[in-house]
Assembly symmetry: D2
Homo-oligomer: 134 residues x 4
Amino acid sequence: MNTVSETRLRARYAETDRMGVVYYANYLVWMEVGRVELCKSLGFDYRDMENEDGVFLAVAESHCRYRAPARFDDEVIIKTRVEDVNSRIVIFAYEMTLAGTGQVLATGHTRHVFVNGQMQRTRLPQKYHGMFGL
Amino acid sequence: MNTVSETRLRARYAETDRMGVVYYANYLVWMEVGRVELCKSLGFDYRDMENEDGVFLAVAESHCRYRAPARFDDEVIIKTRVEDVNSRIVIFAYEMTLAGTGQVLATGHTRHVFVNGQMQRTRLPQKYHGMFGL
Amino acid sequence: MNTVSETRLRARYAETDRMGVVYYANYLVWMEVGRVELCKSLGFDYRDMENEDGVFLAVAESHCRYRAPARFDDEVIIKTRVEDVNSRIVIFAYEMTLAGTGQVLATGHTRHVFVNGQMQRTRLPQKYHGMFGL
Amino acid sequence: MNTVSETRLRARYAETDRMGVVYYANYLVWMEVGRVELCKSLGFDYRDMENEDGVFLAVAESHCRYRAPARFDDEVIIKTRVEDVNSRIVIFAYEMTLAGTGQVLATGHTRHVFVNGQMQRTRLPQKYHGMFGL
């Protein structure tokens, strides 16, 4: 898989903390924003995968390295790609940079298992295999 | 209805913003904490009302007056009571104070309509009437 | 003041709750997004007002009426305007609608007092008067 | 260091998402709750370290493995300990379990560097060395 999606957002006041920088958990929210955008780039809406196919991406692992702080109203670019995938598991990789300077703010990845609405493991439906490069 | 529930929490770092105080939207989260506690005081778990009876409290209105800022690690007391209720609607009132000094941080109310899982209006089931003082 | 800013965002998964809709406190975060955008429309960055002039918009009151639920990945338009302003206080009004249909999701307002970095009341600096229509 | 702090919280409605479980970024918020509690167990308030000594724990890395979903109103126990520490860096380890059954919900760690108010690297002040077991 070579598709890399790129999406932009601005750091919200709500996302900062009293240290004056973006609170560390919010980078995982930004990863979600990147993930949803990547799905659109791959050819589907993640919402439809849940609503129409009853398949959910349950998070099994998250990892983030914080390299430079993001601040209120900073424009951030999130680059997202599939790092690894099979019919059971998908790993996404992320890079978040400052739009103005290209400075790397954070990098990370998340590992997900495909589950059904009852949180039981399932397989990625056939129709998505091509989009994920399987 | 005279029941007033009282619950305590500590302001989290995540809840502060770069002004060094608790971000204003988080007081609505604290109201939810108070509401859930009030339900327990009234004799039921709000979770069961959703899971077992399929009745949800959809928020129709929120109002909050911010009187003094809460800061990281402050212990906050949330007092919650039913201000008005009928079989269609319930209004909760809240007062949040600083545990150490009694200083009022915020007051507010939320108005809710009873809905089913499809977000359609419904009535409060008979079994809850006594608990709500109807 | 007749300036109305318009900004768009997509409801994040993080912003939904187990009822399947956007959690009510997050509309106040969206109001902040609208507010920051309105400042840009009026001719300044709110970040600069804080960083360069040491003037902050402390929230004194929030009010929101929830008219229809927003759901994950919905595109939302936030219209923001100054409803009232003097050198001590500013009131912003908001309307949030669904981009596709124009359906009104929520309306509300927030009242703010100008404070300094020590959270003491101050006046809006002269340089901003014109931008706010004073 | 053998001190393990234990703190309890209840999963908030705000913390759930439309999958009906606690959203993955919120576990990092819970880690913060555990961290603040561990500092109290070690003999100081983290707030004082910031306010009085101007020393902050900037997060450099976070890692979380999600083992079972937490749901609304679940009582969760967070066990926190110092995994490694020197005068420049501290690593905290966390285990989150369900209070009723002991089921492990998540495990993880965070790595922090000591910084001053300008986000520049500094050393842990001498007065804290004993408390951290240095």
